[in-house]
Amino acid sequence: MNATAMDIQACDPAPAVEEQYDDAVQQREAATLGMWLFLSTEIMFFGVLFASYTICRVLYPDGFAEASRHTDMLLGTIETAVLLTSSSLIAISLRAIKLGQRRACTWLLLGTAALGTAFLVIHGFEYYSEYTEHLVPGINFGQPGPHSHAIELFFCLYYFITGFHSVHVIVGVLLITTLAVRVARGAFSAEQHNTLELAALYWHLVDIVWVFVYPVIYLVGRSG
């Protein structure tokens, strides 16, 4: 095999269908179904934290409202906008690979990863300012007043929920960057891009989790 033939083989990911499947449709549906089952476990993983939050908020409504006012609503809103935009970019990148636009797909994936990184950087600033305001339970916490205990509970849940979410964002950024490099090197095609679709599903779920984090962390008790 000469160099040109090897290059062509490297660029062409076909045959697309693995032997346990009847056809590409079945393969794609199996992959999507499997991914959704994994995402269901992710929903349950974050769900436990949201359930704890709900119970604590029912028990300490005033304390949670006061605690939420300590968070940075502007930064939280910007982070939400950044993640929503990144979700649309990865959706458009899938559209690009379906149309055979490899270059556009690569740049859109890199854009998605860049927005994910921007989210992490903004959140890092938020964590830093909370540290300086003595809002980190167990490390640097000092909130006077009758709601001190409830504020501590709120910030425990805040760090668990946003911390685990940030870990998911880091995984997503690494995954999407790797995929962008692979697309640029000729992997995937208009016919075969299941891996990209599954990565996009993961990223959208990370976005959906944040869509619920935003109101429960940043928007409570703002009108009071």
Binding site: V17, L84, S88, L99, I208, P215, S223
Partner: protein, 108 residues
Amino acid sequence: MNTHPDTRKAATPPVTPLRRYLWVLAALLALLSLSAGSALLKLGAFNTVIAMGVSVAKTLLVMAVFMHETEARRLTRMASALGFLWLALLIGLSLTDFLGRVPIPAPW
């Protein structure tokens, strides 16, 4: 092994128009400003109702258009509802306990 070129072609679902993605993004950002704006108004319990309603609307938009749930087969849609259903059960049943607790003083 695949011997039918037609079925391989069918593996790629129809391409969504770019305009639809951009409209959905605009709608998501509009919903975001709605939840941020309404949080600043004194609406009592409706603050929470609106905030969660907007989040559910955003989720449905992302799932329907970005995650192509409208094109997915029924089994996949059921699987995607599974996690949310389980979460609703978890929170719902936990609340029946915490909201329904009546303090009973010890008789001695």
